[in-house]
Amino acid sequence: MLLRSQTGPSSGNGPALPELHRRLKWVALVGVVALLVLAGRLWQLQVMRGEGYYERTVSNVVKERYLPSVRGKILDRKGVPLADNRPAFNLYVTPKQWKPEIRAELARLLGLSDDELAKIDERLDIGRKRDPKQPIVVLEDQGRDRASLVEQALARLPGVEVHYEPYRYYPQGDLAAHLVGYMSQMTSEEAEKLTNKGYHTSELVGRYGLEAAWENYLRGKKGIERYAVDARGQRLDDQTAATLIQGERVSGAIPGANLVLTIDAELQRLAERAVGSQTAAAVVVVEPNTGKLRAVVSKPSFDPNIMTGHLTRQEETMLKSDPRKPFVDKALRMTYPPGSVFKFVTALAALTDGQAAEDESVTCHGAYELSGTTFKCNATHGKLDLLGAIQKSCNIYFWQLAERIGLDRIADVARLYGFGTPTNLGLNGDAGGRIPTKAWYEQLGHYKVGFATNAATGQGDVEVSVLQMAMAYVALANGGTLYVPQVVERVEGHDGRPIVSYEPKVAREIKMPAAALDIWRRGMWKVTNEPGGTAYDHGYVSIVPVMGKTGTAEIRTKRRKKDDDERAIEGYAPTRSHAWFAGWAPAEDPAFVIVVFVEHGGSGGRVAWPIAKQIIEGYFGKLEKRGNP
């Protein structure tokens, strides 16, 4: 044996350590036992049980799949879904398992076109570079037929998976599209920020409307599934996964909360149909005793189903180059000169200041001279009192009042009714508009007396949003309560349990003498109910008493861009006046306040009023039929 083969050269006087020589057999014994134990254990683990361990561990890799949360629904006040979810069948493939045979089998099974196959190959190439064992979506949102075809053939298609994922779906199409909004993929800058908040980069985010503003309630929380795969990326059974993955394997997704709106889908549809023939318009219908929005229309609009996720660049450019601006909310975001619907401000200011009286008569000769400038009325009205001036919308009467009270008094009352500041609805921009004052003009360096004249009839630099006008008429209807408009009634969990309920919010109580208000209201009554009224001449509602005021806001015909002609849209004349109608029904104890606005529609009485009439008749006609007047 090696150990005994040599004795040291210096061992002429015996070994240096004789004890060691004596105990070598013990050393050998310990060494052999140790080796046998270790080698025996290796034999047991690697040879006897090796196959089992190999099966359990070879190429085990933990993979994560994110489980999308079901986004909260957006429902109208009666529970009609405006935004919902539907299951989309997505086809996943693990790049590492993708073989020509499987490709051919899948192509045969689904009858895939060459284009589709090329797209699949492209996606797999990208996925392979990232992680060949991570399944990726190759066919998105397939029909039920295709999904079940694949599902039945899964055994022959290793590495192919079908997942049912919730996709956003707007069952009412473009109904209330501006209000509901849409979703889209996050940009790369957003992706960085949002992934910290638990988003997955493939998720869509609310981009517009309620989808954007109420994102935090709607989105819920995504879940994660962790699983083990073998060397080929084939998923392993749960029992094996349990031995390989530390901690929880599945944390389920938490569904988002539902929004219940104050909107009445039926009324909304009615309003959208009523403006159907117009190219660009807005309608706002509000409950006068709560400030709750019942319908908000902005036209032109879009189908959020198309907008959400899969808009092609071409479609996008087309939509964005439309001069009517389909992506700008005309009810909330845009501001326009209000025209004569604004005259209540001038009337109330003059009446409270004692600068006007119901029986004071003015003679309208069709024109008005002020410091060298001639202002023209819409007609030669002859002699009329205040009620007549409201009824016939005589400008000269109000210009005289303006001369007495001045621009800043008009501005005071206008601000009291909420003009000039955002309504705090907190949606789609919610514009503040503009109420000019003397100081404002002086800052610009050119105040003239004529500015008050313009403002008195809602012209010149006065700009308001359709929503602001509606909220102001709500305050007129209810006697002076200016509400913050409300569109979300409550938030509830996906199971219907209430989360938050919102109460009507009052912006301010306007102190206005009842007599002054009464005079204005009687004027409004005449507009829609007496011959000569600007609305009455274009139609009369018989089923319910209505009162209102028309407006025809002239446009400063300054710009007529060259390309306007190129992109001209039939029926859209950018030089024509804006048509307005604001009013309510029933006249006493109103159920809703309605404001109709038609962009470049022309005369308020001829264009806006018939739309309001159609909506009112449609709504109250249906109520009557149900025997519920």
Binding site: L2, L3, P9, E19, G31, V37, L38, G50, V58, N60
Partner: protein, 379 residues
């Protein structure tokens, strides 16, 4: 080599110093060590390649160079001179153990004090202590000295051997403390004229286990409990052992092939480059490779004992026994731990584990063996 015969045969006079030196050098020992070091690097490369730990390979190569230099130095400087300074060396090691207790970086291992920061390098004084204890043993057993000691002389010397063990145990680094104790007992068993004192100490140590258990930290107790029943805590302490067993077993007879070990590649085995390199090796090289590596260690041990048998004095023989014991226990405990036969303790696999302190100390230890081997010819 054998042909060199006596230290300086007449025929050899006139042969150059260098050729005589070259002929006397223990080449089989050196080749065995180099083979192990190469296997260690190969294995580390597979374990860390493509992970965020890949820089560890470069670090280890640098330590290899340091180790080789240490090997040469500890071969060339006459061990008899070194043994004369053994008590001072042990004193220095004890001093460092005290310093590490007071100043060391407690953040490294679960609030234990094992590391000393010297010029930016993490040094483990407990590794140095192993070497110094072996040298101190050699000093004690030097020709006849042991029998000359009176009780009054013997007790402080034995005490000096127990102090570092105790200091390491309270770091706490139970694995190293037990290992050091085993080295002392092994040397005692092989070098004492009578084995009975060693047997008595061993029995006393076994009886002290219940007391030790009471003084252990919770994490240490948990490790031992997890070893006894790995399924009791499959995601915690049992995790390492289970995953290690899976890795070893999945290697089967031929192994998965170099670089194909999925268990280690996907971080199923935390810290596999320090405490579980054998697991990585076994997964990739299978039963044959695993036994082959054990065989290399076996050959190394036999060779070191061979040097011990032919040493020219007791001190040299005791050094070899000590180094053999240290190597043996390191390999046995580490491999047993990897195979699920011992609790998870921080005991490295010589030359294979990642880590500078362990590597350099083993190179030094083997250098001392080569030193003894070189001087058996009276060189």
């Amino acid at each position: 080599m054998k042909g060199t015969g006596l230290a300086l045969p007449r025929s050899r006079i006139g042969v150059s110093r260098w050729r005589r030196f070259r002929a006397a050098v223990d080449w089989p020992l050196i080749l065995t060590i180099l083979a192990l070091a190469a296997i260690g690097l190969l294995n580390l490369y597979s374990a860390t390649r493509g992970t965020r730990h890949h820089a560890k390979f470069d670090t280890q190569v640098q330590w290899m160079v340091v180790g080789l230099i240490a090997f040469v130095i500890s071969t060339v400087v006459d061990y008899r001179a070194v043994v004369r300074l053994a008590w001072i060396g042990l004193g220095a090691a004890i001093f460092m153990l005290v310093v590490v207790r007071l100043l060391g970086d407690g953040a490294h291992g679960k609030g234990s004090y094992r590391w000393l920061n010297v010029f930016g390098m993490g040094i483990q004084p407990s590794e140095l202590a192993k070497l110094m204890v072996i040298l101190a043993l050699a000093r004690m057993f030097q020709d006849g000295e042991l029998s000359r000691y009176s009780i009054e002389q013997l007790v402080p010397r034995l005490g000096a051997l127990v102090v570092p063990i105790a200091l390491i145990a309270v770091q706490p680094d139970l694995g190293t403390a037990v290992l050091l104790g085993l080295i002392v007992l092994s040397v005692g068993f092989l070098a004492m004229p009578s084995v009975w004192p060693v047997v008595h100490v061993t029995l006393a140590g076994l009886l002290a286990i219940p007391i030790l258990w009471e003084t252990m930290h919770d994490y240490q107790k948990n490790r031992i409990l997890a070893f006894i029943d790995p399924s009791s805590d499959p995601t915690g302490n049992g995790w390492h052992t289970r995953q290690s067993i899976f890795a070893v077993g999945s290697g089967k007879i031929w192994g998965k092939g170099y670089g194909e070990g999925t268990q280690n590649q996907f971080d199923f085995l935390p810290e596999h480059w320090t405490d579980f390199p054998y697991s990585v090796w076994a997964e990739e090289w299978g039963f044959l490779g695993s036994v082959f590596l054990l065989a290399i260690f076996g050959f190394l041990l036999i060779w070191i004992l061979n040097v011990a048998l032919s040493a020219r004095d007791r001190a040299g023989a005791v050094i070899c026994i000590g180094v053999a014991a240290m190597t043996f226990w390191h390999v046995l405990i580490n491999v047993a731990m990897v195979l699920g036969l011992a609790p998870v303790v921080g005991v490295t696999l010589p030359f294979i584990s990642y880590g500078g302190s362990s590597l350099v100390i083993f190179f030094c230890a083997m250098g001392l063996v080569a030193n003894v081997s070189l001087r058996k010819y009276g060189y």
